[in-house]
Symmetry: C2
Subunit: 316 residues, 2 copies
């Protein structure tokens, strides 16, 4: 039920541009649509860029996979123009709000959500690279196991990524903790450091540089990403406030930080020493396929290959 499908990318910034480049590098027929500046640069680099209507019409006509790569606030306007029956995925950093928008504005599209976990502090077409997703995790949120799911998995593999299947809710809760909270804490740390005046900045070395690095990202993109995941991020911020408040209390009352520092060290070791993985397979034609995929993702597993309708996976 799979074939190598043409790809239409809407939005040609860092992520969309990199998807377009990676799909072309993998031998796909590709075209895009974008706002004026990125469109002109992509055309100058030899890519086909059409008006949005034309790009979506051609995608429906040729049964291509449409990749939605615009910022979250622009998603509804694009979705309204997607033709019924279109194969559709996205690369947006939140999955619940996008799934809601698809149900509302393009209910007849054949949608599977996606989120490649890659990025740099740069943005726009100029920052895009065909190899941006090499060895990255590409999250896929499917509600049913069908050929569009296979299309998205195949695209992720073509880009050099592995696939992590999960639900929109679990994705959004996880990225709140490991992607959005880090941006909020980096901003807080940078501001507290700068409040220390010129002496503090003159003494800043490795730990402050590491801890504030992502505060250098474009503020409007960081805000859009964090604010778009408001509910899950609130939970993560509350956890951080609770842990930081407990550290404060312990330091003030006993002078000790053992619990905070030891828990952080143990967690960091978990991150860098992830256990060995064992292989398993999932038959995508099985009625249990979606349940098996979601379970795989929840347990930290990943899809590493596709053989017909059977995925090869790894789990710790």
């Amino acid at each position: 039920m799979s074939r190598v499908r043409d790809v239409c990318v809407v939005g040609l910034g860092l992520i969309g541009g990199s998807v377009l480049r990676a799909a072309k590098a993998a031998g796909r027929t590709v075209w895009g649509a974008a706002q004026a500046e990125d469109a002109a640069k992509a055309e100058a680099d030899g890519f086909t860029v059409l008006r949005l209507d034309e790009a979506l019409e051609r995608a429906r006509r040729e049964d291509a996979l449409v990749v939605l790569a615009v910022p979250l606030p622009a998603v509804p306007d694009v979705l309204r123009k997607v033709r019924p029956g279109t194969r559709l995925t996205d690369v947006t950093s939140v999955k619940g709000p996008v799934a809601d928008a698809v149900h509302r504005y393009a209910p007849e599209a054949r949608f599977v959500g996606g989120h490649p976990m890659a990025g740099t502090s740069r943005s726009g077409w100029d920052a895009s690279r065909a190899d941006l997703f090499q060895n990255a995790a590409w999250v896929v949120t499917a509600e049913q196991s069908d050929d569009v799911l296979i299309d998205v998995i195949t695209l992720a593999f073509d880009a050099g990524a592995h696939v992590v299947p999960t639900t929109p809710e679990e994705h959004d809760a996880a990225v709140a903790r490991i992607s959005h909270l880090p941006h909020v804490l980096a901003a807080v740390l940078a501001a507290v450091g700068a409040d220390g005046g010129p002496l503090a900045l003159a003494l800043a070395a490795g730990s402050f540089g590491d801890g504030t690095r992502v505060a250098g990202s474009r503020p409007e993109l960081v805000r859009a990403m964090c604010e778009g995941n408001r509910d899950a991020l609130l939970g993560a911020v509350d956890d951080a406030l609770g842990r930081l408040g407990a550290a404060r209390g312990s330091l003030a009352s006993t002078g000790g930080l053992a619990k905070t520092i030891d828990a952080g060290h143990e967690a960091r070791l978990k991150l860098i020493n992830q256990p060995e993985r064992t292989p398993l397979t999932i038959d995508l034609t099985s009625p249990e396929a979606i349940t098996a995929l979601h379970s795989l993702g929840s347990r930290g597993g990943r899809i590493v290959a596709l053989n017909g309708t059977t995925v090869k996976a790894e789990i710790s």
Copy 2:
């Protein structure tokens, strides 16, 4: 009033070992004292290592500069053995508590505090390197301008560092913000991420990796450093709690994070785009020398060269 002076280093872990190596590489006569494991390794690498009493006695006899490089809890025991009149500095990460300990346990030593802002997540003699302090800031806290101050400045230059003069209080407040708070926030972030379970860790990418890197440091060293600067760190943690709480409130009430993210971005730009520096000189024999040095440090300036009793400095 200056000459190239012999150097005795007490404590031969990462920092003390690197001071010993750097001073020897600069052509100084050097010897050390250390606990058994580091002592044996330093001797095996061709360095002179004496018993603590012998090392301190030789230092007083030869008018050498003693560099205190033991962890803060071990400082009083060493200070009790320092001979009256000894030229003394330290490389500990807090300056107020060390100055207090010197006043109490070695009031007749000729003391100038120091803190080279360098380190790695590794520790012990094995991790020490002669070039650890190249291009680093070496904080110096002097209460008077004398030849011991010149000894310490000269040692910092021999190690490839520049010198930032300040007071113990200003140093401790600054490092709470740019060195100790980053460790606490990294620990909090790592724990909140790990609380998200295997999926969260499987999706962790650049921002989480950067933000938790220093949580990989040895917990007992991080605790000793942070707990040793308790008063100043409490202030920095309170500032972080205030800013994080404000972000939480804004996200919950309006859905917006503009103030938090924009302030963090502006602070990060201040860090990476420090303004151009203009040169100035300070005459160390002037009665205003200490005031001028402290003002230089408060304003983010640094000493970059020494010519007799005149320091060449730079300020933004």
